[in-house]
């Protein structure tokens, strides 16, 4: 399966198991979503469980909160993460705090799915990575898969979770992993072990990172598309790096991170989002707080630049193998 099919399968499995799971969003019904992630679900589960919505992101999330408060488990789709901003107030001020402010009387068990990240010539309004905004908010979980297998297991766990979850789907790797070389032939999930996705139910617990490549020279913390770019770069350069795919940013698997950095003594953080105030800043602060006496070099941050995503120069913006490679050399200098 590719990642879109895995995500589709997760929703189908959960709708089968739990009649309270519903899917809603712009174009998700009859058409099956502009990325086809919800294809066939309306046919299978009917119009009252899978439906198109008006184009109002604040409405979609506000309504999903109400449905959640009633007892449903809505899985709203925001067509592109760039369009989550109109829904920000509902997510930040409402969904994230409903449990806290009502002392548990009301909860908002929604899973907001949204494709994010660049590399598809989407220009500045179809390419952004807003995860840092949500990790900064208390009360929402943030989940980002990097493989079809993980996407399905994590989405199932997210739908089962009783807290609001933001589930960002790295659209650059919907169809295959990406090594960061935009001018080389694209890979396909069918040739990748993580593309072997079981049809039925399984879950991957939120808050558990994956060590995608064990190593001793340094630790790379990444998520989504950047896991693949980092891995390809490290392999090209034949560096004995340990790569940790965080999988969920909140809650974060701090133990795996700490253990790894204490072992390797060096740490690099990679993400595609803009640098300043990004989640990489949080990661480096955490590593600095907890592993300072084990560090043999300053923590390296490899990120997108602090500009909007430019249409024609998107590959200059993207943190590719060269940027990662230079940071690796710096990190391993002495």
């Amino acid at each position: 399966m590719n990642m879109i099919q895995a995500i589709n399968s997760a929703m189908a499995v959960m709708m089968e198991r739990d009649p309270n799971v519903i899917v809603m969003g712009e174009d998700v019904g009859y058409f099956g979503g502009v990325f086809r992630a919800t294809a066939g679900l309306q046919e299978k589960f009917g119009k009252t469980r899978v439906f198109d919505t008006p184009i109002t992101e604040c409405g979609i999330i506000g309504v999903a909160i109400g449905m959640g408060a009633y007892g449903l488990r809505p899985v709203p789709e925001i067509q592109f993460a760039d369009y989550i901003y109109p829904a920000l107030d509902q997510l930040v001020s409402e969904a994230a705090r409903l449990r806290y402010r009502s002392a548990g009387q009301f909860t908002a068990p929604l899973t907001v799915r949204s494709p994010f990240g660049g590399g598809i010539f989407g220009g500045q309004t179809h390419s952004q990575s807003p995860e840092g905004i949500f990790t900064h908010v208390s009360g929402v979980k943030t989940v980002i898969p990097s493989t079809p297998y993980d996407a399905k297991g994590l989405l199932i766990a997210s739908i089962e979770d009783n807290d609001p979850v933001i589930f960002f789907e790295p659209k650059r790797i919907y169809n295959g992993p990406f090594n960061g070389h935009w001018d080389r032939p694209a890979e396909n999930w069918s040739k990748h072990p993580a593309g072997a996705v079981p049809e039925g139910y399984y879950r991957i617990e939120l808050g558990k990172a994956a060590i995608v490549r064990p190593g001793n020279a340094l630790t790379i913390l990444a998520y989504g598309t950047m896991v693949h770019v980092a891995k390809a770069t490290v392999e090209d350069m034949a560096i004995d790096a340990e790569i940790i795919d965080l999988r969920t940013l909140v809650p974060l698997d701090i133990e795996t991170i700490e253990e790894s950095v204490k072992k390797t003594g060096r740490c690099m953080v990679v993400h595609e989002a803009t640098r300043t105030g990004g989640f990489g800043a949080e990661l480096s602060a955490l590593v600095q707080e907890r592993c300072f006496y084990h560090l043999e070099a300053p923590i390296e941050r490899v990120t997108g630049f602090d500009t909007p995503y430019p249409h024609s120069l998107e590959w200059a913006y993207f943190p590719g193998p060269v940027r990662i490679g230079q940071a690796l050399k710096k990190l391993l200098k002495d």
Partner: protein, 429 residues
């Protein structure tokens, strides 16, 4: 869990989810679309109280009848030169769309959006506005630039993100911007331009200016909160603005019912705000012209905003990334009861003896040639995907007026990266 709450003496509730009348494979019959006769609607004085003409928000103001005659009080009585200019602009937009759509299919750019069937909406409105009025378009009003004689080559440069692109390759194709031509920078985020247009109009009023603003969004976008905030501001401050809703029946795969069309019209949104509302035949260039002219006069005489619903049809896909065959009947565009805006204006000009088939055919050839020549010219500046068109460091221009230290550092990092890449400056996009 729902079953626990069921009380035996009450019927279970049911959720209504709208469904369009036709899906792929269905035969199309638009008999239920009410098309009142042309010329039947009254034209209120532009100083009239909006409460006195609510009906105009529920019907369809039409000028051109089936024989191509212009009838009724809304006939703007345009001279033949203006009519021919509008026809030429509409034909030019269509030829431009055709060519750029093909350019995208040939891999010369990443994306394109046509406005086929909606040409009258932008062209006729622009002809009815003053050259210096500020337009806040959505992505389907390329006709505004065409009607203001903006350079076709410039438009294409933007579409190709090439070295001649005045937006430096920073925007998606078709997201033009020309302050000089009263064309506000297009956003990919739907409906955000609605309150911005109202703000521009309020500022113009506050300054005692004479310029007004006009804004366009699709019917699907009226669901966004921005639309409703804009309506409130516009009515509270009597902003000199024309609020256009282009109801082309489809928002990607969602039919207009998902924006509320099953319950009422989009023009009727005006009534709750105490605003003037008109629902017009958007495939009738004369109706678009007349309504815009009327709304502009209201705005210019401090009578406040007007909401105009342009009832039209999106004859082609949403964009080059869309396949409408997946969700709507292939028969829809052909069966659309309001016809084609270009054919209708052409028929009118022929009916009044100011045009003929030969001239029309010649014009079609001429606009196609013009577009082709412009494309050749634009491609001299490059197409997307062929090397580096903008100096790489322009990536950091325009984030702020002056570049702070962290961006200077990052710019240097990027330039170093380019050198280290082993094939500096040859970057393919």
């Amino acid at each position: 869990m729902t079953a626990d709450a069921l009380r035996p003496n009450l019927p279970p509730l049911s959720l209504h989810v709208p469904e369009p009348r036709f899906r792929p494979g269905d035969a199309v019959d638009f008999a239920s679309v009410e098309v009142p006769p042309a010329g039947a609607q009254p034209r209120p004085d532009t100083a009239a109280d909006p409460a006195s003409f609510h009906d105009l928000a529920y019907t369809l103001v039409r000028v051109l009848d089936d024989e191509g005659r212009a009838v009724g009080p809304w006939d703007p009585r345009l001279d033949p030169d203006t009519l021919r200019a509008m026809l030429r602009d509409m034909a030019l937009v269509r030829a431009f769309d055709e060519r750029m759509f093909r350019a995208q299919r040939q891999g010369k750019t990443s994306f394109y959006m046509k406005c086929t069937g909606e040409e009258a909406v932008a062209i006729a409105a622009t002809h009815a506005l003053s050259r210096d009025d500020m337009c806040f378009p959505s992505y389907r009003q390329q006709g505004i630039l065409i009607a203001r004689d903006y350079s076709l080559v410039q438009m294409m440069n933007q579409i190709y993100s090439n070295s001649g692109d005045n937006l430096q390759g920073k925007q998606l194709p078709i997201m033009y911007s020309s302050k000089e031509d009263g064309f506000f920078s297009i956003s990919g985020n739907l409906a955000t331009q609605y309150p911005q247009a109202v703000g521009w109009a309020m500022a113009s009023a506050a300054k005692g200016d004479t310029r007004i603003a006009a804004v366009w969004c699709g019917e699907g976008s009226t669901a966004e909160g921005d639309f409703h905030s804009a309506m409130t501001f516009a009515t509270v401050y009597k902003a000199p603005v024309i609020l256009n809703v282009v109801n082309n029946q489809w928002a990607i795969s969602s039919f207009s019912g998902f924006a509320g069309a099953e319950a009422t019209t989009f023009a009727a949104r005006a009534i709750g705000y105490g605003m003037a509302g008109l629902r017009i035949d958007g495939n009738d260039a004369l109706a678009v012209y007349a309504a815009t002219q009327w709304a502009a006069e209201r705005a210019r005489t401090n009578q406040g905003p007007t909401l105009i619903e342009h009832f039209t049809y999106r004859a082609e896909g949403h964009s080059t990334s869309d396949d409408p065959g997946q969700y709507r009947s292939a028969g829809e565009p052909g069966a659309w009861p309001l016809g084609d805006p270009i054919a209708r204006l052409k028929a009118h000009l022929i009916a009044i003896g100011e045009w003929d088939e030969e001239r029309h055919a010649a014009q079609d050839r001429e606009v196609a040639e013009r577009v082709k020549a412009a494309q050749k010219e634009a491609e001299k500046n490059g197409i997307l995907g062929h090397g580096l068109h903008q100096p790489l460091d322009t990536l950091f221009d325009g984030v702020f007026e002056e570049m702070p230290w962290h961006l200077r550092e990052q710019r240097q990092q990027m330039l170093d990266e380019e050198e280290a890449s082993g094939r500096p400056w040859a970057r393919k996009s």
